[in-house]
């Protein structure tokens, strides 16, 4: 009995296409998004696989080789202490990207959770949205400075110097950047809740938990994905800003922002040292933004296919 309609449709329509193939088709037609995704993949591969090939220790000081220009031994040159710039770029990228991805993940989970709860359960709406307003009003940088001062020692003893700061930065960026996601998701959930298929599902007694996981979440995926990509970009920039201010990770621990900060003194003599990390930060952020743009078009059924 249940099999009958399915066989019918198979006979009428073309072989069923996976929905994600449609999305991919639409995504592919956005050239910027494609380029961005390709570039992001290249950066990810370089940063996480590169050190396996390029095995120079990024913190090793070879004082006789300081201030060198590009050469075969050091393709990106060396810094004022003779550390290899390429190795430092790769190591720095790992940290910057790891911070970006993890902080994004955290803010996404928080934002979606709060957005869905606020949108779906009317009683929670007021309280959760006021909480969102409260967090929106918090300025990120001063908050980070205070948190770093307060919790640095405790986290350092728990996770080690680099691990502690990593947890701290990811946590703070995560809990201060979920608000946009939450608001967008809530708006979409409010609209979805009134639609017929939701009413239908409710009329057959679907419990709230299933309602959310089965009907609501898949339909708000598009805004979530977009805010995720934008979140990566802003997390990378925040980490860079912190390192640039000389805070955050220890001074010999390379991140893209730290490399930029260290090189500004030598801007005139060795401009390439500023250009490499600067280029890496801006290109990564740009590629992620293009990806987000393409994803938004691709995930929106109203635009898809046009």
């Amino acid at each position: 009995m249940t099999d009958a309609p399915m066989i019918e449709t198979m006979e009428i329509a073309r072989p069923p296409r996976n929905q994600w193939l449609d999305v991919w088709d639409q995504f592919r037609s956005h050239r910027g998004a494609l380029l961005g995704a390709a570039f992001f993949a290249v950066i990810l591969a370089a940063v996480f696989l590169g050190p396996l090939i390029w095995q120079i220790d990024p913190t090793y000081i070879d004082i006789r080789a300081r201030n060198q220009g590009p050469s075969l031994a050091h393709p990106f040159g060396t810094d004022q202490l003779g550390r290899d710039t390429l190795a430092r770029m790769l190591a720095g990228g790992q940290v910057s990207l790891a911070v970006g991805l993890t902080a994004m993940g955290l803010s996404l989970v928080l934002g979606t959770l709060i957005g869905v709860l606020a949108g779906y359960f009317r009683r929670l709406d007021g309280a959760l949205m006021r909480l969102t307003d409260l967090f929106l009003a918090l300025p990120l940088l001063p908050l980070l400075l205070v948190i770093i001062m307060l919790f640095r020692d405790a986290l350092r003893s728990a996770f080690g110097p680099e691990g502690g700061i990593f947890v701290l930065i990811v946590f703070v960026i995560g809990i201060t950047s979920w608000m946009q996601t939450a608001r967008i998701v809530r708006g979409d959930v409010l609209a979805l809740k009134e639609q017929e298929f939701v009413l239908a599902a409710r009329s057959i007694g679907t419990p709230s938990r299933r309602m959310i996981t089965r009907h609501i979440l898949p339909n708000v995926l598009s805004p979530i994905m977009v805010s995720a990509t934008l979140g990566i970009a802003s997390a990378i920039i925040t980490e860079s800003a912190l390192s640039f201010l000389g805070l955050g990770f220890p001074s010999d621990f390379p991140t893209w922002g730290r490399l930029l900060f260290d090189s500004t003194d030598y801007l005139q003599q060795y401009p390439e040292r500023v250009i490499w990390p600067g280029l890496a930060i801006s290109l990564t952020v740009l590629s992620v933004n293009y990806m987000g743009d393409g994803l938004r078009d691709a995930l929106d059924p109203r635009i898809r296919g046009r």
Binding site: T59, Y60, I61, I63, Q80, M149, S251, D252, D265, Q268
Partner: protein, 565 residues
């Protein structure tokens, strides 16, 4: 004919104006940039050089040191000596005569009561005065008349120029600070930020760690000075931007303490807008070793003598740390012309420099390893040496500054070669040197195992400086975390030498004592000296009258500055 003469005369007067006929306030504004912003104008509440220098614009001592290290009277008429009868035969009292007619910037007369009050202020119970070593052994300050102050010491003082001399011990106005004695001192915000002074400029607006606005003191003793009507004293930023703003763009007239890589400084000076000024004083870049345990588990009592350090109290470890350092290389990459290698924390004046410690000039990694092996510190599975489960792992802190971070990275590598692990931390210089007892990141609190910075003393006599490492000078909660004994070194033999120097009169004996104290610190590896640094500052070519001074505040003669037209 007459009109023409008059015109010529006027023209000549204009041409000569800056030097010869300068009048007060005729040259507009002078812009000074200190990339570490001063947090107070009261030098008694801060151990930082930046505060001492900023305060020297408003507050003056009885006498200062000139660029050659000689004393010149400022508020006093003459410098009292044995010859002129100002210092008593038994070396137990000094009589200072204040210049008659001196006025505070509020128009009231400067009297010997102010001098007496300054002593009381710094020695008040519970006050935590940063410069208290200047007033060591002062039994009383007598004021027989309005212009005479007699400083009485409890012991013979062969060098009686500690109190009220140099930029660390200026005179405060009694009327303004009368209610700010002892524990109440840090709370007197308006007095600490805007002190009534006798110097050429007085504060009109003070923003901690940011900008200080000053104007010419209308009651300054020389009616023609200062030539500038206002001072814009900008604090904060970094050495790089400060150097650039004087040498390359000409926005500022004077930039202090340009601790930059030599190649960077040379490039900036090539722009021709200003000149780099170097003078070798007593400034020594050093690593301080913490004898107390900074572990947070001790709570309020961390980094105090209650909890000795688990491994830095072992002399072999400290010695190995010193042996692993290549001081020549540090000097070359960090300071170039503006630095010299040194093995002494007391590196100048020349006569006091010990020659007993020259061994440190040669880096000896193998020797350091052997020393640690002997002492029972053996490499663990991760290459870090350990003994009884205690790993040689340290937190190494310093202020945020490109040269210091390079030093940290280099030293970290050398130490890792001998099996000592270190973690680097850098703290914003305004906070690090700010002396705020509420901040965990100050160099006095020293919540780290080793820390690197530079320090110096004003004047030419090292007595007060060497007294820094007396046991009682250790910063701790009872002193509101003030004090200069950062290592918390406590050695009865050393304290005895400090006491002995305080009553020794003959110059050659004083020299021998100072050297001996230096050698104790060096051979006990309490302090690891790295580089004897010249003070490097930059001055715009249009700033006239500036004289670089390594023995006192660099702003010591701000009253004589003028605009070159």
């Amino acid at each position: 004919m007459r009109a023409k003469h008059a015109l010529l005369g006027a023209a000549a007067a204009l041409a000569l104006a800056p030097a010869a006929f300068a009048e007060r306030g005729s040259d507009g504004q002078v812009n000074i940039i200190y990339w570490q912003g001063p947090s107070t104008m009261n030098p008694y509440l801060s151990g930082g050089i930046k505060e001492l220098e900023a305060a020297s614009l408003s507050l003056e001592p009885l006498a200062r040191y000139d660029p050659d290290g000689n004393m010149v009277p400022f508020l006093a008429e003459t410098v009292p000596t044995l010859e002129n009868g100002g210092v008593s035969e038994d070396l137990k009292s000094v009589t200072w005569k204040i210049k008659p007619g001196l006025l505070w910037s509020d128009g009231t007369p400067v009297t010997s009561a102010d001098v007496r009050f300054t002593w009381q202020y710094c020695t008040a119970e519970g006050g935590g005065c940063s410069q208290s070593e200047k007033y060591n052994d002062v039994a009383d300050v007598e004021t027989p008349d309005e212009l005479t102050a007699i400083v009485r010491f409890s012991v013979p003082k062969p060098y009686p120029y500690g109190p009220f001399v140099g930029n660390q011990a200026p005179i405060l106005q009694a009327a303004q600070f009368a209610d700010c004695l002892g524990p109440k001192a840090p709370g007197c915000t308006s007095a600490n930020f805007m002190p009534v002074g006798t110097g050429p400029f007085i504060v009109t607006d003070f923003r901690p760690n940011d900008v200080i606005a000053l104007k010419a003191n209308e009651h300054y003793r020389d009616p023609e000075k200062p030539a500038f009507s206002t001072v814009n004293f900008k604090g904060g930023g970094d050495a790089m931007a400060a150097g650039r703003s004087v040498l390359e763009t000409g926005e500022y007239d004077f930039a202090w303490n340009l601790q930059l890589a030599p190649e960077v400084l040379d490039q900036m000076a090539a722009a021709g807008k200003g000149e780099v000024e170097v003078a070798f004083g007593t400034l020594v870049e050093r690593i301080m070793v913490n004898f107390t345990d900074p572990d947070p588990k001790w709570g309020e009592r961390r980094a105090t003598a209650d909890h000795p350090h688990p491994f830095l109290t072992d002399k072999a470890v400290r010695q190995a740390l010193s042996m692993a350092i290549d001081r020549d290389l540090l000097t070359e990459i960090g300071y170039g012309q503006a630095g010299r290698t040194t093995c002494n924390v007391l590196a100048a004046p020349e006569i006091y420099a010990s020659e007993a410690n020259e061994g440190c000039l040669v880096q000896d990694i193998e020797g350091a390893k052997a020393l640690l092996d002997q002492a029972g510190w053996v490499p663990g599975p991760d290459g870090v040496r350990q003994k009884d489960g205690m790993r040689l792992s340290m937190l190494f802190q310093s202020s945020t500054n490109a040269v210091r971070q390079d030093f940290q990275a280099l030293i970290k590598q050398w130490w890792s070669e001998i099996g000592v692990e270190s973690e680097l931390r850098n703290v914003d210089a305004s906070v690090f040197f700010g002396g705020d007892p509420g901040s965990p990141d100050t160099f006095q609190k020293f919540y780290a195992d080793v820390e690197m910075y530079a320090n110096s003393f004003d004047g030419t006599d090292p007595e007060a400086y060497m007294a820094n490492w007396e046991c009682k000078q250790a910063p701790r909660p009872e002193t509101q975390w003030q004090g200069n004994n950062m290592p918390r070194y406590c050695n009865a033999a050393y304290d005895a030498l400090v006491a002995e120097m305080a009553k020794t009169g003959k110059m050659d004996e004083r020299i021998a004592l100072a050297k001996k104290m230096n050698d104790i610190l060096m051979q006990d590896y309490v302090i690891l000296p790295l580089v004897h640094r010249g003070r490097v500052s930059a001055r715009a070519t249009s700033l006239g009258g500036f004289v670089m001074n390594a023995w006192d505040s660099e702003l010591w003669n701000a009253a004589d500055w003028y605009r070159v037209k």
